[in-house]
Symmetry: C2
Subunit: 424 residues, 2 copies
Amino acid sequence: MKFHPTFKTGAMATALLLAFATTVQAGTGPTTISERARAIQAKAINLDTHLDTPALFSRPGWKISDRHSFEQDGSQIDYPRMVEGGLDGGFWVVFTSQGERDAQGDLKARDAGLKRLSEIREMVAANADKFELATTADDAARIKAAGKKSVYISMENAYPLEHDPSLLSFYYKQGLRMISLAHISHNDFADSAGMGVAPEGEHGGLSDKGKAMIAEANRLGIILDQSHASNTVFDQMLALSKAPIILSHSGAYDVFAHSRNIDDARIRALASKGGVIQVNSLGGYLIDTGATPEYREEMRKVYAAFGGQRRLSDAERAQAKAKIAELDRKHGIRTADFDDYMRHLLHIIEVAGWEHVGLGADWDGGGGVEGYEDITALPKVVQALLDAGYDERQIGGILGGNTVRLIREVQALADPEAVKAALE
Amino acid sequence: MKFHPTFKTGAMATALLLAFATTVQAGTGPTTISERARAIQAKAINLDTHLDTPALFSRPGWKISDRHSFEQDGSQIDYPRMVEGGLDGGFWVVFTSQGERDAQGDLKARDAGLKRLSEIREMVAANADKFELATTADDAARIKAAGKKSVYISMENAYPLEHDPSLLSFYYKQGLRMISLAHISHNDFADSAGMGVAPEGEHGGLSDKGKAMIAEANRLGIILDQSHASNTVFDQMLALSKAPIILSHSGAYDVFAHSRNIDDARIRALASKGGVIQVNSLGGYLIDTGATPEYREEMRKVYAAFGGQRRLSDAERAQAKAKIAELDRKHGIRTADFDDYMRHLLHIIEVAGWEHVGLGADWDGGGGVEGYEDITALPKVVQALLDAGYDERQIGGILGGNTVRLIREVQALADPEAVKAALE
């Protein structure tokens, strides 16, 4: 929709102009948030199931208690912005980029995973007045009531467990309650969905090691996350897992045919088994941006010239952004926006039923689109769901209630003896 | 010495009476600390090389930032008492009690070690205004200058590495800079010195796995700690290690013939290779207390009735103490005191030379004697060293300078490529 500001003087005019600047574009979503939307969010437990923010914890000078801006440093989650956007917490990810699958690569991944796990716990320890570790379904409401944000821990890519899968028991002790097996390429556990068109499988879905990991996750009540794995892995995981599963950050293949999205038939199968799908906001998975392999290679080089995407200074980030913008013009790249995100979300709610849908926007992991740049924009989703006719109960489920139910169900199906032994 | 207070009125009289009450007993050390002693401590870097305090970090409600008392909760180190006693930091121990050496025991130990390592880092994260992680020789002075306490990390008993010795690389990344191989019983790496009379060896000193660990520690610049291992391990470690070694908390066998102490010939051999011995204050290693195996078994049962020594409530601790006092009377147990501690310390300085001696009092790990109950008593050692005729330079070395030198030497002998790879 168009936004017609009434020009006023002074600070209010500036505020309106700023609002205008960021919302005038079509496709960027609601420009005002109703009281009702605010009230629904205040009552709901707002969880995002895929927060890649832990990748920033070791960035020199970056503190979760400071307010940052996406524009300036590219980050999308911090405590002040969580408060502003009404996010009560979520699953904070131990992510490991897939590297070499030899002995040395596996050891490096093992160390990197354990280090990230420790970083998440150190962040909570350093901010005990703002964050609290969450491990059970009830923790989310309790921590919200205490005025803090919940930190559930998940793992994206089980590469750190290739060297020694028995380390899962340690991760569990330290709070891990969700795990995905593979990232953007195959590993020892499972075939990946790749990054556009699904690559040929290596294991025909899950390897034996992957199947064993599923059994062990079930035993401990760790939620299995299929996001990034292949469709065959989806089918096998759904068949093998004794507990419902999650897609922590995925989109709808029937809206945009990308190998990271999941088709309607599988969405229905997921829901019929009690699972949930949490909708991703990564632009390249939402629409056909026109990105070609050549474009991606040129973009990779831009970041490589700065020594990688994660460690940029604010100045380097600005330079990189300018170069990417130039690349985008050259290649005619289209940019996804808030409406594109809602198109996936609303389609998935339609197909799965609202009880089986939630939010996993891939913040700080590539997520975010025009009009939905960081977590402060979360209320827009609530407003858009209201505008689409969903009620308080349904929206509360999508914002986090469904995830809480899943945590409860998966943990109820765990082996109590195994849980007791693991926590000793 | 005897203490003859001059009675005065008011606060001064009270202070003197309090001083009298705690120091009237013979053997409990200096009753006043001179300005010179205070000045020497203020200038020195005061490090204790064996702080078992991390065992308390998971005790419910126990916070290192609170002031506790040994009388009330049995603890000996916390931030306020470190400030009072002038301790600038030290090596904080990842200690694991030796359990079963089967696959399951090894896994439990692996998880326990990693958890303790994380707890140490979480303590530092939660108290960043008071503590800082230290990994190099220069860190100690830098952190003291910044008004904080240094947290070097060490491991007592390599049991957590039995399942997978390659985990050492992760410990190193996270800050580990000292390691001992065995505790009070043999394990896969080395023979133990046991708890009184040395038991028969299992490996004839070091196993092949133990020898490999020595090579790896040398490569990374991790200080090798012989405390608790057998005399044969001492001889082999000294011969094999390319870097000088430490005895992080040991006493003099020629003062009291206990298998946890080391004889003069070995002290001289240690010093001749540049090593240091840090003197322990655990009473049962300092004098013949008269404790028999029967007494120890009865004491064990007292604690076992409360579910172990570590998790006692203050009330349970008081009850246990009363029962132990009763046991002590029944068995005619003698109690070590400050003078007994100084007897070991002064003997070892005599034998090793002051450049090769330091303090590793086993605080929160069984250390402490009458008149030297917690870290607030540290200035007494400084005073006693002054009284014994040692000068500022010598005392500074003993308080921590010698340890700093050892850290520097061991790290200088590391393989720079290995260090670089491990820190990547």
